[in-house]
């Protein structure tokens, strides 16, 4: 029996991870996923654990290598998008990434910003990052992408306040409110993840 669910996550790492684990607890195993759709099949409750990895800061080749590595460790992986874009033959600049990871194209690394990793539950906690240093750099990678997104939405809202001929239109106000709300939700997540980083950093002063 399969179950199809439509969902989109602003908190694409931890929020999505939590939800997938909740589904697995209820006895639903991820079969495939699309832009906003998740298809589950029935499994025994608590049979699988899920983790979501941010790979948008890596180049396409690098993220493919990483995926291959995870598969060789016995995990099942899925690629997942962050943004809702429906296009082919498109490129994007990612100022928050490193080196070649800055350019994403479709087909290619575009719309494959995340990896969903599935592990058969074996009693041990499912942690992909165990080293404090590594945890911090991992959090920093997607914090940077949220920062960039927040800056973009602030700039967009600021532009609407510039003198223009649409000022009297209701549509402009609606646009402003929507982008503003999106921006605020980014900022909330930025605060959440920065406090996580701060906690880890404090610990890394004395412990490894």
């Amino acid at each position: 029996m399969t179950k199809t669910v439509f969902r989109y996550f602003f908190d694409f790492i931890e929020g999505q991870e939590k939800w997938l684990n909740k589904m697995a607890k209820k006895g639903y195993r991820l079969k495939k996923c699309g832009k906003m759709v998740y298809v589950f099949e029935s499994c025994r409750p608590d049979e699988y654990d899920y983790a979501v990895e941010f790979v948008a800061d890596k180049s396409y080749v690098e993220s493919k290598n990483y995926r291959q590595f995870l598969e060789s460790m016995g995990f099942r992986t899925f690629t997942k998008n962050i943004n809702l874009n429906f296009s082919v033959g498109k490129g994007r600049w990612r100022p928050y990434a490193k080196g070649m990871g800055q350019v994403a194209t479709s087909p290619g690394g575009f719309n494959k910003e995340l990896l969903i990793v599935e592990k058969v539950r074996d009693g041990k906690p499912f942690e992909l990052h165990t080293d404090l240093e590594d945890l911090i750099s991992n959090y920093r990678a997607f914090l940077n992408s949220y920062l960039w997104a927040a800056v973009c939405s602030i700039v967009l809202v600021a532009i609407t306040f510039m003198p223009n001929e649409f000022n009297h239109l209701l549509l402009l106000h609606i646009f402003r409110i929507i982008i503003g709300a999106v921006g605020v939700s980014f900022i909330v997540l930025i605060i959440k993840y920065s406090s996580t980083i701060r906690r880890h950093k404090k610990e890394s002063k004395t412990n490894e």
Binding site: Y66, Q68, S72, M73, L128, H129, T130, D131, D134
Partner: protein, 132 residues
């Protein structure tokens, strides 16, 4: 393979000017390896692949250290870049890529063992008396 940075030169200059002839390497660059790095190096004294490294570390530390796959992947890539380990066989063999420690890696691991020995000696001299 120690890189001398501007801050090192400044540090040495200040020390010489202050009349301190003995140059003590500052502890950030004191050569201490992270536990992850050292354990991965040890796991690669024999050829091993990713999953094997993880199992080796878990077994040899009696489960005290378990490496996450992401952390291990990062560690392998860093060590490859530093040339402390090298891949075996053809690069394209994909899934079960095997690695081995290099001479440079061995040298680094030996230095780490020496550092740990000195630390162990110091600690047991000071703590040893109290524990008895």
């Amino acid at each position: 393979m120690t890189l001398i940075t501007f801050s090192d030169i400044l540090y040495i200059t200040v020390n010489v000017m202050m009349g301190e002839v003995i140059v003590i390497r500052d502890n950030i660059k004191g050569g201490a390896l992270t536990e992850t790095t050292f354990l991965v190096l040890l796991a690669l004294y024999k050829p091993n692949h990713g999953y094997g490294i993880m199992q080796f570390i878990e077994k040899e530390t009696n489960g005290r250290v378990t490496l996450g796959a992401g952390t291990l992947y990062g560690a392998i890539n860093t060590l490859l870049k530093k040339k402390w380990i090298a891949p075996i066989g053809n690069e394209e063999s994909g899934n079960k890529k095997e690695y081995i420690i290099t001479d440079l890696g061995r040298k680094t691991a030996e230095e780490e063992l020496k550092r740990m020995g000195e630390l162990w000696h110091l600690a047991s001299t000071i703590m040893g008396g109290e524990m008895e």
